[in-house]
Assembly symmetry: C2
Homo-oligomer: 321 residues x 2
């Protein structure tokens, strides 16, 4: 009897659920809005429902499911498996593993979304298993995952990998965390949108505004304007590239990794504009010892990276890979 | 027949050699100037001579030496064991392990000084073995060592732990590495001395200058002036504390360590002025998840930390601890 794996990527805006074969073939996916303002119980009920949905779509039986793993936004206390003070979900304290295991009547795996992402990249993203790998997501926020000696590194109590809150410009813009000049406050989608909005408010940014159908400008519009040659949009992206490269150079000095993989909506959406200048600036700012071993890549797993991580987590926790 | 261990801490200015028992009791030490301008061959010859000296001092036989380990300034390519482009030693390319093993006619252990220091701290510095530990040396320069899951972490080719070259103020002062605003350019002894010299050049810093016998001001004079209540000296140390705390907060966000141990001449010499404000500022800048597990300590191993690391390396590589 064939076995199947369920992965769930619980995000701030959507719950993405997939059913897959153990070799990483995702058969069916289901996407529903998170609606976290309805409270944790409601979100977790609907998360379980989306699992039922993909099981039914695939026409399989629940006893054919070899494992279920869930990727959750952090902060995530480990090994207690509790979501704590999460700004994205607006949850104070949710023992998510316990709550879901009770609802689903089986033990499930839960880890922080960026940890699942780096696991996905490690097991399914590259042709080679790079033993020292960093994953950086540039999206609404900025986060990271760490592979050390071929193992996921979570830190002392689950808090490792908060690359987005590395301060690289102490007088810089205010971050959601309350501090100034965090990487997230300089290069995230939120940061770039804020910068474009400020430009427009000052009577500039007409090239960017012209790319918007409704007066709202997001990362997409900034990208379109830059591709059309708009110098303000290009400057904005170049500034973000330089800050991203500074943050990455810091991580290279600290970790001396074999590879840094970039992912997340902003990295994917602006890949043609962001990756090359970031890489060039990075190489100017690191030692030759680090440089000669370092690879920079954009993830090829796209928005499914979290699901791939869940599949890897089930395989790795269970029978190994 | 008793066994003894030799440790050598090769520094930019001095070679410190010790002979110890396996339980970490250092019996005799020998200190000679490095004189690196005489070239690597000369330095390594004298390093071997200093080993002979401590063996003779202890009155033991060479066949009673169970292992020899050497701590060297970096960059240090690992596992090749080659000192490369070292600014402190002014060596371009020295296969130090090979050169010393040939001279001493036995296999020796060589590692980067900061790696040896964190090993020393891990095995001999604390009553408990913290599995996730960072060591930061604040001295002429700034460097670091990393223990992850109870193991020394060297990165992909020996370049991990360069905390001193984490950029935290991109428009800040120029660092010896060529970039701006590295932690080392903001909080090292060199950085603090440069700042004091600039103050004096501008006609300020009289309180600091008054503490100097010969018109030269170093970290020691800055410390004396601050203890006497001089506000410029205090401001200078407080600024350094804030930058050090910012760098440490970044490392906490990245690693989520159980403990950060501080060492190095500046940290020891200014411990009464630097540690408390740094710790206070750090705690204001990290998440509660990280904070509740984190300890900050000054190393109790003093200038022998490198020797303790060498002892640990011999024990650990050989029979284990």
């Amino acid at each position: 009897m064939a076995e199947y794996i369920i992965g769930v990527d619980l995000g701030a805006t959507k719950i993405l659920t997939g059913i897959a074969t153990p070799d990483g073939n995702i058969l069916f996916k289901n996407k529903v809005p998170t609606l976290s303002s309805r409270g944790a119980a409601d979100v977790l009920d609907r998360l379980c429902k989306s699992i039922e949905t993909v099981v039914q779509q695939a026409g399989v039986d629940f006893n054919q499911i070899s494992g279920i793993a869930v990727a959750t936004p952090g902060p995530f206390a480990y090994p207690e498996a509790i979501v704590r003070d999460s700004p994205n979900l607006e949850w104070d304290y949710v023992p998510i593993k316990e709550e879901l295991s009770r609802r689903l009547k089986r033990d499930i795996i839960v880890d922080k979304d960026t940890n699942m992402a780096v696991l996905g990249e490690y097991y399914f993203g590259q042709n080679k298993r790079y033993k020292q790998m960093l994953y950086i997501t540039v999206s609404t926020g900025v986060g990271g995952g760490i592979i050390i000696d071929g193992q996921l590194y979570r830190g002392a109590n689950g808090g490792a990998g908060e690359f987005g809150h590395m301060v690289i410009s102490p007088d810089g813009p205010r971050c959601g965390c309350g501090h100034r000049g965090c990487l997230e406050a300089l290069v995230s989608g939120t940061a770039m949108e804020r910068e474009a909005a400020e430009l427009i408010l000052q009577g500039h940014g007409r090239g960017i505004l012209a790319c918007s159908a409704n007066g709202q400008v997001g990362v997409k519009e900034i990208g379109i304007a830059a591709r059309k040659g708009d110098s303000e949009a290009r400057d904005l992206i170049n500034r973000a590239s330089q800050y991203l490269a500074t943050g990455m150079a810091n991580l290279v000095n600290i970790f001396n990794p074999e590879i840094i993989v970039l992912g997340g909506g902003v990295a994917f959406g602006l890949s043609d504009l962001l990756i090359e200048p970031t890489t060039a600036f990075l190489h100017k700012n690191i030692f030759s010892l680090h440089q000669e071993i370092l690879k920079i890549e954009l993830s090829r797993l796209g928005e499914d990276i979290g699901l791939f991580g869940c599949i890897a987590a089930v395989l790795h926790n269970g029978k190994g890979l």
